[in-house]
């Protein structure tokens, strides 16, 4: 605790305010009312309250609540200047939006938090937007919903959808291209291993690629405009598993090995399907869209089936 200089007693409101600001600077985490009282015992509660309110209204102090009571903190000079010239309501709304961080907040939620009528909210939002203090970001989950966040913040992944979304559109082609590239990489690795004619164990081990290797390969290919993380590549590799083209094993890896996450590494390998396309799908009936309506003597029957006629003449 630094020593407090005993100043000449003064009840000048400006002095009180300045004193409070100095105390805030001394305690950057915030000061409680108790601290102010200890410092200036001669100042009455009423005067203290006035001073605090004035500082709050000009936006030089932040009012926070913690478990033990109210805290007053000095606001950044920068942010203080930003909202200068705005009235209280705007400041309130701005506060709420700032608190929402990079996830953004929906206009209806702003209304609940501030208890302001809808028309007021809309006016304020338009105002703030024109001052380039906030921006609206379309959410990928519901395309009509707009969330507001501070102008210079990067929207969070859950809002924009991450690497696979650009401007709210799911980039199917991009995913497809990545899918094919990863598969080609793994397939060529497996073929190289097979052709190497070494002992089977070595062959199998060399046909595996870690997710880190695949990630590096894709990054070096340079087909992606956005930066892709290893997790992104792993989601692509998972889709290849669901396509039945790739299988995955997890092995324990020492911490610190390149590409290991939590002491594990994921290995991927291209595989072949275990059967040829099954007999049923080689017939027109196997693929027929009106299979259930077909019976002898009906409008659609094997005797007059056009699919069969085409297939037989093929």
């Amino acid at each position: 605790m630094t020593e407090v200089k005993v100043k000449k007693e003064s009840t000048d409101p400006v002095d009180i305010e300045n004193r409070i600001k100095e105390l805030c600077q001394q305690f950057p985490h915030g000061i409680t009312d108790q601290v102010i009282q200890n410092d200036m015992p001669h100042v009455e509660a009423q005067q203290r309250a006035t001073a605090l309110n004035r500082l709050l209204s000009v936006g030089q102090l932040d009012l926070l609540r913690n478990s033990s009571g109210l805290l007053y903190r000095l606001k950044d000079a920068q942010s203080a200047s930003k909202v200068k010239g705005s009235d209280n309501q705007e400041k309130l709304v701005y506060q709420i939006i700032e608190d929402a961080g990079n996830k953004g907040i929906w206009s209806r939620d702003i209304r609940y938090k501030s208890n302001l009528p809808l028309t007021e909210i809309n006016k304020i939002l338009k105002n703030l937007e024109s001052k380039k203090l906030i921006k609206a970001v379309k959410s990928v989950a519901a395309s009509k919903k707009k969330v507001y966040m501070l102008y210079n913040l990067q929207p969070d992944r859950s809002v924009t959808g991450g690497a696979w979304y650009s401007d709210q559109d799911f980039e199917s082609e991009f995913v497809e291209v990545l899918n094919q590239q990863c598969f080609k990489f793994l397939q060529s690795k497996a073929e190289a291993a097979r052709d190497s004619k070494q002992s089977p164990m070595v062959q199998r081990n060399s046909s595996f690629a870690t997710s880190h290797e695949v990630w590096k390969y894709i990054c070096e290919l340079g087909i992606s405009k956005v930066d892709l993380s290893m997790e992104d590549i792993e989601t692509i590799l998972n889709t290849l598993i669901f396509d039945g083209k790739v299988e995955m094993t997890i092995i324990a890896a020492k911490e610190g090995t390149v590409g290991s996450v939590d002491g594990q590494m994921k290995l991927y390998r291209g595989v072949n399907p275990i059967i040829q396309p099954t007999g049923l799908v080689k017939t027109p009936c196997g693929l027929c869209p009106v299979f259930d309506d077909c019976h002898e003597g009906g409008e659609i029957s094997p005797s007059n089936c056009v699919y069969m006629t085409e297939w037989l003449d093929f």
């Binding site: 199917s172 199998r204 669901f242 094993t249 059967i275 099954t278 009936c285």
Partner: protein, 551 residues
């Protein structure tokens, strides 16, 4: 020895009944079809009831039942009124459906035992049951007919092929009748007081014992210039040949179960070869061969084999070192498909082939293949995803499969409407309110396999009906072509001139020839696709039976 759960104790679906009817008609004609179909639909009937309900003459019904019993498609036994009452008859639908697979059985016999084996199996399949001596004589005659002039097939060669088929259990003795039946198998006689149903073939300890037969000689060549009619009659009635050979009353039938095990093994070996490599599949083939006779029919895995034994039994042209074999075995065990499992460490490691697991994997691959071909690769991705992850919400499906929300929804609803995917509701509150319920998509492999099996039955029925239709449409043309062929054959036999032959040939016009050619092409295509669909049926049936046997 475990036995197959007789499928005729379960209900037959409409598609199965339809298919059985089509097969009976094609192989045995209208009367047998009528009797057979009626019996399938009614379950169990006595002779009188059957004749009354089908409104056919008693004589005809008797003959139809004879045919069916001869082929093992119909069984009889004491009726509801006990041993003193009339005998009741029951159809074995599964046996009728095996008729689809006849080409595959014959082809397998050919690949394993050559032309002789092929003809033996073909003859026995055609007649249902035969004695060894009559089979040998008939097959020898047929083989002789195809040999160049002057040569003939010796009986002993056919006997040795027959013996090999019995040794490897592809042929088995028909279960002996407990009652004093006549020597022609399965003769129906309702006046006998005690008639018991034949037991399972393998309960007979002499099931695979070859009888001593007194048969030497060679096949006789049929001359086409001699009484053609006599020969035809003789060929049909080969069964009632009067010369005694010492094996009267011992009839042989095809052991379908053994063939099915062979097909199952083939499927597993081919899957291993696709997934891993040729050498691994040879190792699995060796393991299956070694445990052929020691593994019960519906076991979940083969007998445990030690690595030492496997090493000794590998084919001689596979020159791999012992440590390399160990590596291959380890890789087989580690493979996610789990074809092979390790059960112990003695003898260098004890290994088994996981039969039920392999069948489940094959069935799963079949289901996935159908979804992929019918609905596209992205729907197949969603299907595989649900098979792996069991239960997923809509949003999770979209995220894992990386498919845009709208398309994912569309695909899931299509799969749902086709019953390939099911919806499971998990309520958060007791009132099942939609906004407070989880809706989870899921795939159940067994019911989906059953559904696809029914589709297969319907598909084959469709293919057969189309084939019959095509033949019927072109009946006039086919008959004309047959007449022309007969005229040509007789002209050639009597040494006609080339000019005459050409004149007759030209009676079929060019467009007619083309039509005939296209008809032949159509029929062949329909035939071969029946066989292809039967392969799917085999995999699905084996999988479904394996799940029931393990209960």
């Amino acid at each position: 020895m475990t036995t197959e759960i007789p499928r005729y104790f379960l209900e037959m679906t409409a598609q199965e009944v339809r298919l059985c009817g089509l097969l009976l008609q094609e192989h045995f004609g209208d009367v047998v079809e009528k009797v057979g179909t009626h019996l399938i639909r009614s379950g169990v009937l006595t002779l009188r009831a059957l004749a009354h309900e089908t409104k056919l003459a008693l004589d005809l019904v008797k003959k139809s039942l004879c045919v069916l019993v001869q082929h093992g498609m119909c069984t009889f036994g004491p009726g509801r009124r006990g041993p003193a009452g009339p005998v009741e008859y029951r159809i074995n639908c599964e046996r009728i459906l095996h008729m689809l697979r006849y080409p595959r059985y014959i082809y397998t016999a050919k690949s394993l035992y050559g032309d002789t084996g092929e003809l033996i199996i073909e003859e026995i399949l055609q007649r249902g049951q035969m004695t060894m001596s009559s089979t040998v004589k008939t097959v020898a005659d047929r083989l002789t007919h195809n040999m160049p002039e002057g040569q003939s097939m010796d009986y002993s060669e056919v006997v040795s092929a027959f013996s090999r088929l019995v040794e490897t259990h592809f042929l088995q003795r028909c279960p002996p009748m407990a009652s004093a039946g006549s020597s022609s198998s399965g003769a129906v006689d309702t006046s006998l007081p005690v008639v018991t149903q034949p037991a399972e073939p393998e309960s007979n300890p002499e099931c695979y014992k070859l009888p001593y037969i007194n048969l030497t000689g060679q096949g006789k060549r049929r001359r086409s210039s001699e009484d053609g009619e006599d020969d035809q009659r003789a060929a049909k009635k080969a069964k009632t040949d009067n010369s005694q050979c010492g094996d009267e009353g011992i009839y042989w039938q095809v052991n379908f179960l053994r063939f099915h095990l062979h097909f199952r093994d083939q499927a597993i070996i081919s899957a291993v070869s696709c997934k891993l490599d040729q050498t691994s599949s040879e190792i699995v083939r060796t393991m299956l061969r070694m445990s052929e006779v020691t593994t019960p029919a519906h076991a979940a895995f083969t007998q445990a084999l030690s690595a030492n034994e496997i090493f000794r039994s590998l084919p001689s042209n596979y020159n791999i070192a012992r440590p390399i074999l160990d590596q291959y075995l380890t890789l087989l065990v580690d493979d996610p498909m789990e074809f092979v499992g390790k059960t112990g460490d003695s003898g260098g490691g004890m290994y088994v082939v996981n039969l039920h697991r392999a069948l489940a994997n094959l069935a799963r691959a079949t289901l996935e293949s159908v979804v992929q071909e019918r609905f596209g690769s992205r729907s197949a991705r969603i299907f595989r995803l649900l098979l792996r992850k069991r239960h997923l919400e809509q949003k999770q499906v979209e995220d894992f499969a990386m498919v845009p929300a709208k398309e994912a929804k569309d695909m899931l609803y299509t799969l749902l409407s086709e019953n390939l995917v099911q919806l499971q509701e998990v309520p958060k509150t007791p009132d099942y309110a939609p906004s407070r319920t989880f809706y989870l998509y899921t795939v159940n492999q067994l019911p989906t396999a059953r559904l696809l099996l029914q589709h297969c039955y319907k598909t084959i029925g469709n293919l057969i009906e189309r084939r019959l239709y095509e033949t019927k449409e072109n009946k006039r043309l086919l008959e004309k072509s047959q007449r022309i062929e007969a005229i040509l054959a007789s002209l050639q036999a009597t040494g006609a001139e080339t000019a005459q032959l050409t004149e007759v040939e030209e009676m079929i016009t060019a467009p007619e020839r083309q039509q005939l050619e296209s008809l032949r092409h159509h029929i062949n295509k329909l035939d071969s696709s029946e066989n292809q669909v039967d392969e799917t049926i085999f995999l699905l049936e084996s999988y479904i039976n394996s799940t029931q046997a393990s209960r």
